[in-house]
Symmetry: C2
Subunit: 105 residues, 2 copies
DNA sequence: TTCTAAGTTTCTAAATAATGAAACAAAGAA
DNA sequence: TTCTTTGTTTCATTATTTAGAAACTTAGAA
């Protein structure tokens, strides 16, 4: 049976994955892999209003995946755990391979 | 600017992470790391109705993270991409370290 | 001070996801 | 065949997430 420890651990991990479960947030993380970016640039790149961009970024920050730093009127965001992205491509490879298999290709 | 390729790739990855974004599904994947399990055993372990367990498992399957096989009246599920779990612990480590930092510990 | 640009927060509406119960389907056993 | 066990699907309800617009805050420039 699932005990309290299991529950805590699974909730923590699920919470982290939830932060990754949106295309815009993945896009932001990929951008941040190269450099720091401010909110307005990221919003422009993604083609969404800055209020939405700000909310996505604060979710990423809350999950511990990015960090921010004020610079004048701007706020620069940067990656804290670059391994998260490597992991994404590893998993994607496995998932794609499996999909091909299930489609009989 | 985000192009069509970016969009497709980010959507695919976000979709995979969405499948991971639930404590019960993480718990199931951890169980499947060791062995194959049938739906009713997994449901019992998690303490949820089998209908719910079945739905969580079909989400994992749809995302390409698990595979199933009929055995009599039972259906056994197994992991397709064990690296997904290693990735989870790697990311968790990074995230926890960052949280500690932000709390000033 | 006044104006402007950058970010965040609040608000409401719309879309998605999660839940449990019950109906349904399939494979074996009695 | 009839009963039982295992899984899946459907349904209605609830909860969560996402969205954009507008209000608000802050820092710096004019």
């Amino acid at each position: 049976m699932m005990n309290e420890n299991d529950k805590k651990r699974c909730e923590l991990r699920a919470h982290m994955f939830k932060a990754l479960a949106h295309p815009v947030r993945i896009f932001f993380l990929e951008k941040l892999k190269e450099d720091s970016w401010c909110v307005c640039k990221l919003a422009e790149e993604a083609g969404i209003p800055k209020s939405a961009a700000s909310k996505h970024l604060s979710q990423l920050k809350e999950a511990g995946l990015v960090d921010d730093e004020k610079k004048g009127t701007m706020v620069e965001y940067c990656l804290t755990a670059p391994c998260v992205l490597e992991m994404a491509s590893c998993a994607e490879g496995a998932v794609l391979a499996n999909r091909r298999k299930n489609l009989g290709l």
